[in-house]
């Protein structure tokens, strides 16, 4: 198990922003999901098909969100998987820096990535 480093922190996220997350593999031989652990709302899971098509998670204030991405490799050849996430403000502009990484592991090590987003109070 490896952690994608460093984790991503976003703060002062404006109410009504959206987390846009997307994953892209060079082939289909991997699994990915993202759990969204919220301090206020119910927790949710963003599935692989949604991530591959580009998912949007609404971020509501006041709230704290912990997003965990899990990637497992199976099947040959192992793909390169690129995950990217960014926060889009209600006015359509990007909030702070986007988060992106690419992993590939034929040995099958599972990967985990963490993101924390806290909204403006």
């Amino acid at each position: 198990m490896s952690l994608i480093k460093p984790p991503q922190f976003w703060n002062n996220v404006p109410d009504g922003s959206t987390l846009r997350a997307k994953s892209e593999g060079t082939n289909e031989n991997y699994t990915i999901d993202m759990t969204v652990d919220s301090s206020g709302d119910d927790d949710s899971v963003v599935s692989q098909p949604r991530l591959e098509h580009g998912a949007g998670v609404p971020l509501v204030s006041p709230n704290r969100y912990i997003m965990t991405v899990r990637i497992n490799f199976a099947g040959l050849p192992a793909p390169s998987v690129t995950f990217s996430a960014r926060i889009i403000r209600p006015d359509g502009t990007q909030h702070q820096n986007p988060y992106t990484f690419t992993v590939s592991d034929p040995a099958g090590t599972p990967y985990r990535a963490l993101m924390i987003a806290v909204t403006s109070e």
Partner: protein, 503 residues
């Protein structure tokens, strides 16, 4: 690439020195808070390697060739022969090599009927060049005329290959998506609450209106105020330790649920591969060639065996339901389908035959290849006086070859703590040639032991027997020869980046 690796040495040293200087129980003053959290949240790399196949073979033993790679002394059925297939899985690609050859690759097939894009169509347009004998015979203006008359399409190779990808054949994940989703999502639902990480998030929210967090979400720890340091320092360490515990528990859950066995069994699925290649050339360039190749590889027991065995308790419908329920967060206690399919999977894993297949993943492959070269006649009227006779003619007869190969490979030493993979491969091939006076029928057999010395270095040593030595330089007059060597795999740019932490 070698220059690049030397260039990265200072970066590697700088990275490791920085890592050494960081305090083990708190954040370093110059360390950004997210980086510090990542340092404490990173579980140690796995020390138990349960996956058998750790290396995707670069060699392709499936494409037809005049000399089959399966007849090579170093060929191994443990190597995946489908790498050619997936180099351009998603889209058609057009590339140009240094010699001017244009290559079009296209993997195709729809998800519904032909999972995993099992077809590959490849067209290569080689830079047209006159047959060396024609070139040697001609000269001056006539040679220039003939060279100028060649078109870009005068030396074209088209190949079509097919490798079925379903639950019985092939090693792509798609046909097994339901089972892997069931296992990985079940592992996820077993995770514990991340209370400490929530506390860290709460503190980030508390301090977000204060500097330095106000202007930078990831400031250096040394830039924090004293109250921020006091609160954040311990929160980062605690949340990091919690994340390590969660990650370790998740990894253990994956192992207990058999995700590692799933990977191994998927990599042991039988593979079949069929291909046809047609090379069409202007007679001034050379003869037309046609080849066909069939390859089959098996290791006895793969994931396909699970579906057959589990038909009564976890059929396709139940498995789909289990996948759906598990993705929705349901466990064995909530869903009958999840329970039935997980029970069936665990029963399959504990089957002695499955255990034996997981312990010793030997592989057997055979291939049959036909290669035909058509007759080629070249005739040029009224060549210059220096070229005789008039008309100048060049005749090459047709020839055919049929090659049958069998390969058996088994690992003798597995990858593990303190050991590196060592494997033994036996191969035998027979080539029947007709119509080519420069070649003859021959039989070749080999036994090769390959020991991995490092991730990049493999040492093969083997004995090769050939009943004819026409294509084999031997020091023995009985057709026996010994081979010894070192095979080095150069690191990719991506791995160098990983080594240097992406510096």
């Amino acid at each position: 690439m070698r220059k690049l690796s030397f260039a990265f040495i200072p970066a590697i040293l700088a990275t490791s020195l920085f890592a050494q200087s960081l305090p083990p129980d708190t954040c370093g003053p110059q360390e950004p808070v997210a980086d510090c959290f990542g340092r404490f949240a990173d579980p140690k790399p796995d020390v138990v390697v349960t996956a058998i196949v750790t290396d995707v073979a670069q060699a392709n033993t499936g494409a037809p060739a005049v000399t089959s790679p399966l007849t090579s002394p170093l060929a191994s059925p443990l190597k995946d022969f489908l790498s050619l297939f997936v180099t351009s899985v998603d889209m058609a690609t057009l590339s140009e090599k240094n010699d001017g050859a244009l290559t079009l690759d296209w993997n195709f097939g729809s998800q519904k009927f032909t999972t995993g894009r099992p077809f590959k169509l490849q067209a290569v347009f080689n830079k047209p060049q006159l047959d060396p004998k024609v070139k040697a015979a001609l000269g001056g203006e006539l040679l220039q005329q003939q060279e100028a008359s060649l078109r870009d399409t005068d030396d074209a190779t088209i190949s079509l290959s097919y490798s079925p990808q379903n639950r019985t054949l092939g090693r792509t994940l798609s046909p097994h998506r339901a089972l892997i989703d069931l296992l990985t999502s079940r592992a996820r639902t077993g995770e514990v609450e991340d209370v400490k990480t929530r506390e860290l998030a709460r503190l980030l929210q508390v301090f977000e209106k204060e500097e330095p967090f106000k202007s930078n979400p990831n400031p250096q720890f040394g830039a924090l105020t004293a109250p921020q340091k006091a609160a954040m320092g311990s929160a980062i360490v605690s949340a990091g330790a919690e994340q390590v515990a969660i990650a370790v528990a998740y990894r253990k859950m994956l192992r207990d649920l058999g995700v590692d066995d799933f990977r191994t069994l998927l990599n042991q699925q039988p593979q079949a591969y069929a291909s046809a290649v047609q090379r069409s050339r202007n007679s001034l360039i050379g003869a037309d060639e046609t080849s066909f190749k069939l390859t089959y590889e098996t290791s006895g027991r793969g994931l396909g065996s699970f579906y057959k065995k589990a038909q009564t308790t976890c059929n396709d419908t139940q498995l789909e339901q289990a996948q759906k329920d598990s993705l929705a967060g349901q466990t064995e206690s909530d869903s009958i389908a999840v329970k039935a399919c997980l029970d069936a999977w665990q029963a399959f894993r504990s089957d002695p035959k499955t255990k034996a297949a997981l312990a010793s993943p030997s592989r057997f492959a055979f291939s049959l290849e036909y290669a035909g070269v058509r007759r080629n006649n070249v005739s040029l009227k009224s060549p210059p006086p220096s070229v005789t006779p008039d008309p100048f003619t060049l005749h090459r007869p047709s020839s055919e070859s049929l090659i049958g190969s069998v390969v058996y490979g088994l690992p003798l030493i597995g990858n593990g703590p303190g050991t590196r993979e060592g494997r033994l491969d036996f191969s035998a091939s027979y080539e029947n040639v007709t119509g080519d006076k420069d070649r003859d029928n021959r039989f070749v057999a080999s036994a090769v032991y390959s020991q991995k010395i490092s991730d990049m270095l493999t040492m093969p040593i083997g004995i090769v027997y050939a009943n004819r030595d026409r294509y084999l330089k031997t020091f023995s007059d009985r057709g026996l020869s010994m081979h010894f060597g070192l095979v080095m795999k150069m690191p990719t740019f991506g791995k160098l980046q990983q080594l240097t932490g992406g510096q």
